[in-house]
């Protein structure tokens, strides 16, 4: 029962944050609400015994990405003060499509007949072994990708006159 309670609280923060992310009119708020959602998601991970992922989520995602985004928001700001998100285009149409997707997903989940039992979770040690043995090549490829992204970002964002 306590699990359900915890889940409900986490879901509330995750979905509530998400809702504010897509509706808030202040860009700084948008990013901060995203942080709320991400931290709540980390809690969800922890509840699923994925402690390592939860830690990564907070450290790297919430810590790194949110900071980065805040920087971007402030850099893109024209004339000081708050940064407006400039509203929505055709919100009804978007709501319709998103609702369609949600409905379809829900239908699929209900029909899925997924296993409801909870076997042993993957331990962090095992996760490390998986990453470095059978998945070593993708792991290394990923580091190359990150490097490429970093260089790409530098090239893109560098001022031509600087």
């Amino acid at each position: 029962m306590i699990d359900w309670l915890l889940f409900a609280v986490l879901s509330f923060f995750a979905l509530g944050g998400a809702a504010r992310v897509v509706t808030s009119e202040n860009l700084v708020h948008v990013v901060l609400y995203l942080a709320v959602t991400l931290i709540a998601t980390a809690g969800v991970y922890a509840q699923m015994d994925a402690g390592f992922l939860a830690a990564i989520q907070i450290l790297l995602y919430t810590g790194g990405v949110i900071t980065l985004m805040l920087f971007a928001v402030l850099l893109a700001r024209r004339n000081g003060g708050s940064v407006p998100a400039e509203g929505h285009t055709s919100p009804l149409r978007s709501l319709l499509v998103a609702g369609l997707v949600a409905g379809l997903s829900g239908y699929t989940i209900l029909r899925g007949g997924a296993p409801n039992r909870a076997p042993e979770a993957l331990s962090t040690a095992e996760l490390g072994r998986v990453l470095l043995d059978p998945l070593a090549l993708p792991f290394e490829a990923l580091s190359v990708l990150l490097l490429a992204a970093m260089i790409g970002a530098i090239v893109l964002a560098r001022r031509k006159d600087a």
Partner: protein, 604 residues
């Protein structure tokens, strides 16, 4: 892997380096040296291989790896097969190739550096292709090599690509040989269908009639490659390439590949009696027609080209006798003395800067070494007693007589007299008589050109004495003996030499004309016949096909183009350029796919 593999791998390395690393290729002379060194190394290795090879009949040294594996079944193999036939041919090929590459260091020295590198890259590729052909363990690899040497031939004929005639000659060579290769391909497919493999021995025919058909189809390809009448028309034009190329590809080795194919696949040809008779006749007629044509040419390289045709006809006629030793031995000796003659001609051309024999004359005093070496080649080709050509021709004619084919034999004997005649004509017009204006400025070629010629002159002179051991290697008993046929050929040869000297001995330009026939032969009757076939036969068909193509096929194409344009006009409105619209489209697409999945799941 057998030692012989190195004869492929070394030039392959050279070719790869020159092909990939263009800065090395563009250095010119270093690139040339690289290629030449690998060619010489290949020659040495080939000699070692020949020394250790077992005589015919012993099991061949085989090294293969599977290729074209389909569903666990090996359809074909690639690799090396070292036996008496391939080892001896390998020596011929690498020897001539090495000599020609060394010679080219001098002959091509005035070429721009990138062109020189390109030239040598293709020469390396040629050795790879030719050795791959010679060492092939099955017909499929042989045909692969066959196509590759054809490619090298195309590239090297068109080496002076800025010259339109060179480009045309290269294309003509490809078209004619390709036309003949249709037969070869059909033969290959039929062989596979009938026997389930590409081997030329070691199986039994389920359908005995097919055996001869396969051999006949393969022989069609041979006719193209080895320039048999009427498919010989490409070979004289191929002289547009540099002279060393003519010596290597279009005299000694590549054109002999056709004859080699027959020798190699001898188990297929041996029993095909009707085909053998046809081969005798085709070979004899080729020998005759080409020899007559050679007698009236004024371009020294054209004479030698027609002479090559003629001698290839000799070989094919010899194989048609049902014995392969004579034809194969003649191939070997011919490779040496004809390469020598071509290199000699190259040396002459190098000296006087002209191909026309009318502009030469009296060169004996100006370039004595070339003259002497050319004389060895001339007399060897003429079948002068004691020189290599004498023995191989004798052996070949003996076999034809033994096969009882009197018609071809008579023609071949006549050609045995005609050959010395036209060669004497060349020798007299070029080296004897009064020097022409151009001859006066002639200089002897450098050592780098003379040395390979001298090396080729040795086998051209004395290889004939090796006929016995050559026969032994191929599992045939052969002892030289004076026979009526041999005597007749010798007399005809001497007669031809004498007649030629009597007629052209003074080297006068006036005596260039052979009365009567000359004008007709020089007009190229066979080329004209092909042209007529082309204009009357193929072009109307092509025109009709063209009409169909233009109005029906193009109509369809144009219609589809119009539809696309119209549709594009309509659909363009969808392209707003706004990122959001695209996102909607993507999301809706995903929804559609999901719906399809769900519906499919429900239905299932």
């Amino acid at each position: 892997m057998p030692l012989a593999a190195l004869t492929i791998l070394l030039p392959l390395a050279s070719f790869a380096i020159l092909a990939v690393f263009w800065p090395i290729r563009h250095t010119g002379r270093p690139a040339a040296w690289l290629s030449t060194l690998t060619a010489v190394a290949s020659f040495v290795i080939a000699l070692l291989v020949l020394r250790d090879v077992a005589p015919m009949g012993a099991p061949p040294e085989l090294w293969t790896m599977p290729w074209l594996v389909h569903g666990g079944r090996v359809i074909a193999e690639v690799g090396f097969r070292v036996d008496a036939v391939s080892a001896s041919m390998l020596v011929v090929v690498t020897c001539v190739a090495a000599c020609v590459q060394v010679y080219s260091l001098g002959y091509m020295s005035h070429e721009p550096k990138p062109a020189l590198g390109r030239y040598y890259a293709w020469h390396s590729l040629f050795i790879v292709a030719m050795a791959g052909l010679v060492l092939a363990p099955n017909l499929l690899q042989l045909v692969a090599g066959w196509e590759l040497v054809g490619l090298c031939s195309y590239l090297l004929i068109g080496f002076y690509w800025a010259k339109p005639s060179a480009g045309k000659a290269a294309v003509k060579a490809v078209w004619v040989t390709r036309f003949a290769d249709i037969g070869l391909m059909c033969g290959l497919v039929l062989l596979y269908v009938e026997t389930g493999g590409f081997a030329w021995e070691g199986f039994s025919w389920a359908n005995p009639g097919a055996s001869e058909l396969v051999a006949a189809l393969l022989f069609l390809g041979v006719m193209g490659k080895s320039a048999q009448v009427p498919l010989h028309v490409w070979l004289p034009d191929a002289m547009e390439g540099p002279t060393p190329v003519s010596a290597l590809l279009h005299a000694a080795t590549m054109v002999a590949a056709g004859v080699f194919l027959v020798v190699r696949c001898w188990p297929l040809f041996e029993g095909a009696e009707t085909l053998l008779v046809a081969m005798s006749w085709i070979g004899a007629i080729t020998a005759l027609v080409a020899a007559i044509t050679a007698s009236v040419q004024t371009d020294i390289k054209k004479v030698l080209a027609y002479s090559t045709c003629s001698q290839l006809g000799y070989m094919v006629a010899g194989l048609g006798s049902g014995e392969m030793l004579g034809g194969y031995f003649h191939l070997t000796t011919h490779a040496f003395f004809k390469a020598l003659l071509f290199l000699g001609a190259g040396s002459v051309i190098h000296a006087v800067h002209s191909n026309e024999m009318g502009e030469m004359g009296g060169l004996r005093k100006k370039i004595p070494l070339t003259a002497a070496l050319f004389a060895i080649g001339t007399f060897a080709l003429a079948g002068f007693p004691g020189l290599s050509g004498f023995f191989s021709k004798d052996l070949l004619l003996e076999e034809v007589a033994h096969g009882g084919q009197w018609g071809p034999l008579a023609i071949l004997l006549f050609v045995a007299g005609l050959t010395p005649f036209y060669m004497m004509r060349v020798y007299c017009l070029v080296f004897l008589g009064e020097p022409s204006e151009k001859s006066n400025h002639a200089h002897e070629s450098p050592l780098v050109m003379l040395a390979p010629m001298a090396l080729l002159a040795i086998p051209a002179a004395v290889l004939g004495f090796g006929a016995g051991s050559f026969g032994e290697l191929l599992g045939h008993e052969y002892h030289f003996a004076v026979t009526p046929v041999g005597a007749a050929a010798t007399v005809a040869g001497l007669l031809g030499l004498g007649l030629g000297y009597a007629k052209f001995g003074m080297g006068q330009l006036a005596s260039l004309e052979l009365p009567g026939l000359a004008a007709f032969v020089r007009s190229g009757p066979i080329d004209n016949a092909w042209r007529l076939c082309w204009e009357r036969g193929l072009l109307p068909v092509a025109r009709n096909v063209g009409w169909f193509d233009r109005y029906v096929v193009d109509g369809l194409v144009n219609f589809s183009g119009w539809i696309t344009l119209e549709a594009g006009d309509r659909i363009r409105r969808l392209q707003t350029g706004s990122a959001h619209d695209y996102l909607y489209a993507a999301a809706l697409g995903a929804v559609l796919i999901a719906v399809a999945g769900v519906v499919g799941g429900v239905l299932a």
